[in-house]
């Protein structure tokens, strides 16, 4: 996987002067690691079993922590 890939992207929707709600600013969407991996190569580094369970995957290369991206704005 290209380590330069980010797991979140954003765009700014057009805001018309006649839109009633104040602009949300950025809209976010996820681009998780599986989109970039291709066929998983052999012998990728692994988490310990406990950590794997907590993270939901055995391989750090697939881990993508998600948090509400709009929360900080409130």
């Amino acid at each position: 996987m290209n380590s330069k890939n980010t797991n979140q992207k954003s765009y700014v929707p057009y805001h018309s002067p006649y839109d009633p709600c104040p602009p949300i600013g950025k809209k976010f969407y996820s681009t998780p690691p599986n989109l970039y991996m291709g066929f998983q190569p052999y012998n990728l580094p692994q988490y310990s079993p406990k950590e794997a369970l907590m993270k939901g995957t055995l391989w750090p290369a697939f881990y993508d922590y998600y948090e509400n991206p709009y929360e900080k704005r409130r």
Binding site: N34, M54, T57, F62, D64, Y66, E71
Partner: protein, 189 residues
């Protein structure tokens, strides 16, 4: 056949008594991109797909039932001791008058589960692309639920489930690659 194990796949914890969250979670119980739809979709597709990917569909389909049980656990815990008054405040009075606190296969808007959520085209590529899309849609649904939820322990379990969708999508993508390959030629690593 299937054998049940008395164990959740992940140690589900719920901190707050907040029945409103159950209303959102039911989307992943009986909704179009929920865990029931996923399990039934994959297990049903097994019968009409090349042998090379039957194992994967069986195993992911089986894992989806474990996820269904996790979602059920969350809903159960969020509603079990709630009074009718609390359920009313939580906005699930319309569920209550029909079901009490029984779980029911419907989505967050109350639409009952239907078999038309489950695609089965019989074309291996079409079906696997459907599966990839289903995993991405389920991932997105978990994101929207996390955005609505303020229970940190619940969000832990939801993040686990979201991550599983990422892995499943990965495996289905690999399954497509396997079916694209010319016979007897190995995928190069």
């Amino acid at each position: 056949m299937w054998v049940y194990e008395k164990k959740l796949q992940y140690p589900v914890k719920v901190t707050s008594c907040n029945p409103t969250l159950a209303k959102y979670l039911i989307e992943q119980y009986g909704g179009s991109d929920g865990e029931l739809a996923a399990a039934l979709r994959y297990l049903n597709q097994r019968y009409t797909i090349p042998d090379k990917v039957i194992g994967l569909l069986t195993d992911i389909g089986t894992e989806e039932f474990a996820h269904l049980e996790m979602i059920a656990t969350m809903i159960y815990k969020l509603t079990k001791d709630a009074t009718p008054e609390q359920l009313k405040e939580a906005g699930i009075a319309d569920h209550y008058v029909n079901h009490d606190s029984a779980l029911f296969y419907h989505n967050a808007a109350g639409v009952p589960f239907t078999a038309s959520y489950i695609a089965a085209k019989g074309d291996p590529i079409a079906d696997l692309y459907e599966d990839i899309a289903a995993e991405e849609k389920a991932r997105a649904t978990y994101q929207w639920i996390i955005n609505m939820s303020d229970d940190p322990d619940l969000n832990d379990s939801l993040r686990f489930l979201r991550e599983r969708e990422i892995i499943h999508s990965q495996r289905f993508r690999e399954a497509v690659e396997i079916l694209k390959e010319e016979r007897d030629r190995k995928i190069f690593f």
